[in-house]
């Protein structure tokens, strides 16, 4: 899309949600503290609330809406389904993007705890992270 039509101080989060109608990316704390707005920019996880749309000239953004088209993303989605790692679901798209982003970056991470430590920027108030940890473990090992 043409970034020139967008105000310079507009957050990527708002561009996605309100200009493009991609509201699968969730609007939480708007200050980098909850992780609900995690998307991929050029394949890496970023917080869209702390990213200005203008910074992305020439870059590519991927959101939860197309997660199944990415093999790792699809694996994480399936793991979340199998483990029921969702309650209210508001944090879930952000978790899926963050976990899949991490597994792409570090496919051979030996420890589950290594993955979970890197998810401390994503908050969940419903699950106590237990089912999410089970989903991470399932996704890490690949589909059984």
């Amino acid at each position: 899309m043409d970034l020139h039509a967008i105000p310079e101080d507009e957050r990527l989060l708002d561009t996605l949600r309100w200009r493009l109608g991609l509201r699968g990316t969730k609007d939480g704390c708007r200050s980098g503290g909850c992780g609900a707005c995690t998307v991929w920019v050029d394949g890496r996880s970023v917080l869209s609330c702390l990213t200005l749309a203008h910074e992305l000239e020439g870059g590519s953004v991927q959101t939860i809406e197309t997660i199944d088209s990415d093999p790792t993303g699809h694996r994480v989605v399936e793991a979340f389904e199998a483990e029921d790692a969702v309650q209210c679901g508001y944090c879930t798209p952000g978790f899926v993007m963050a976990i899949a982003g991490l597994l792409k970056e570090r496919p051979h991470e030996p420890e589950l705890s290594g993955v979970l430590e890197n998810l401390e920027g994503n908050l969940c108030r419903c699950t106590g992270y237990a089912a999410i940890a089970r989903a991470v473990e399932r996704a890490r090992r690949g589909a059984p």
Binding site: Q87, C88, P93, L119, G121
Partner: protein, 732 residues
Amino acid sequence: MTRSDAPRKIRGQVEYGADLSRPGMLWGALVPAPIAHGRIVRLDLKRARGLPGVVAVVGPKEAQALLPKGGGDPERPLFPTSEIAYAGQPVAAVAAETLAAAHAAARAVSVATEPSPVQLEIDAIFPEWPGAEARNSPFVTAHVHAKSGDVEAELGSADLLHSEIYRTSGVVQMALEPHACLAEVAKGEWFVRTSTQTPFGVREDAAGILGIPESTLRVEGTWVGGGFGGKGAALLEPFALVLAAATERPVKLTLSYPEEFRLARSTMPAVVRMETAVRRGEITARRVRMLLDTGASLPGRDFATGYAIGFLLGPYRVGTFELEGYALRTNKPPFGPHRAPFAPQCAFIAESHLDGLARKLGVDPVAFRWKLAWTEGVTTPLGQRVGPFGLPAALAKARTLVDEWRRSLPSGHGIGVGCGFWSTNTGAGGEARLRLTPSELVIEEAEWEIGSGSVVEGLVAVAARVTGLPAQAIRVQPQDTDHAPFDSGVFGSRTVGALGQAVQRAAEKLLKALADRVKVHSTPHLELSDGGIEMVQGKSHHRVESLFTAAERKAGGIVAEGRHYGAGGKIDERRVLDGTFYPYTDFTASVHVAQVDVDRETGQVRVVRSAAFLDAGVLIDRPGARAQAEGAYAMGLGTALTEETMWTPDGRLANPNLLDYRVPTSGEVPPLAVEFIEGFPGAGPFGAKGIGEPPIIPIPAAIANAVADATGARVYELPLTPERVARALKLL
């Protein structure tokens, strides 16, 4: 096993309140009061009105002109007309073409004030326990008092008087989705879609605040991104509605996280005095005195006081007792319910007190409580008969586990046990309508799923169990308040226990109506076959479609309604001296065991592992129940260790953000073992008990007792921050 809503939620495909959008929609923002207490001298809206993109700026005068009767309940004004009750209280609202323009306009409203002294600490209102002077105190909003026997005499003649003062802090629900709604007003018809736990509650509240008939206000829920009690009564909706009336356009209003912390009704701090008299090793009397900070809550909102105080004696037998509590108004925002309102705090106090007493008496703290624990048939202090109750069974298991953990306990670690009880809060009852079509069974009701699964899984499981249909043939269709039958809301762990009974009765009526049509006198069940749904009785199969009347065929199905009346036990009023105590409906026990490691230099508490023993009656949805236990665990760790609202001396919330108000993160939740104690049925469908709230109740208590076990020092205040633990260890 996949929850029916999981595939769409995981892919970001469900629409929450925060996602609502309409063509031509404006964005709203609230103007916060700049001080915590005082008078508004002048409210200047002019500059805000002149800013680009601003469509309306509404203060008290403008609101009065827009509302048919000029306003609603004078006790709950939309905007304060003179006195500001707390910092951040909305004093005006704006609507603009963009969110940025709305925020700029809200900042441009100037509020000139004349400050008054700010009341923040409840200790400061009554430094000594209040006497007769409390009757006329402007700070007292509720008083409850009950007793049985000669407490003074027993306390005076005790050979051991165990007397302590405990304090708790405010805790924020902190659902990930902030409060959000979208309002539209046209031709005297008011409509709001909102992320709420109680659409009918919002209708009643918002209509009352605005002074419009409930029949002219339609409320529809949305998917809710977490509630935990914070999305109960109306909060944003009246503001959004008045802005929609002012602009004649749809208006979206969403709280920012800092507003969420300040306005969204977090729970109450309290100061509690506990006294227990012991003679020859036996408890002879107990006295509990509670001061509860309810913020700028309105008079009459005394439910918290009369409901919460009963938890302070714990689920234990007691003869002679006295319970007295005051709700006190302060210049903090109005406080509200948070998952098992105030029960985790009460259990922390009650269980710390008894654990400490057992240690003083030199007896095992778990055995001590087991001996006192309620069993079925005993009478509570307020005169209710306890129904099937799994506490002794859960405590027996906990004791075995404690012994096992002790055998390999590293030096410096401690183990603590906490107990709690809960009662499903059935509210004012509720109704559900079932519509059986040729191919599916639809549950029509008012409530939207808030996350626990109680609507999309729980209600479906009840309907499945009655009819025999598989869950995939059953769907919940929430409706707005003009179309859904009345229901009280998704709170108090009542969804399956109370609304589920309405679903159960509707399903039973449906089966009976079908059976009557083919003169079947025993109860049939339903089956999903390739050709649609069939009614099956013995060897006879009927396509349900063939049993429909012409009118039903035209309407697409057969309908049956079921109702559940809010039901409670009875308080023994002879024991009540003042105020209202609320009876419990049924009795649910939870026990938590925690092992902790305490850093002897910093006071940092690390929970190593935990186990939950939960009496949940007959389980309707086992994976869902386990998920509630796991979720409550993280939240309970927060209440126990880190979560606390803090206030500046002039009455502002000092930590309205996730950096300074710390909720547990993924690396901070240690392993939890969950075991359900079955065989103690509740009043819900098939013997179900509510499970959303009970698991959190004993967690802070267990952790505090584990800290005492590890260090010999007791912490008398929640949360157990390193500083408080260090003080208890005399390091500071």
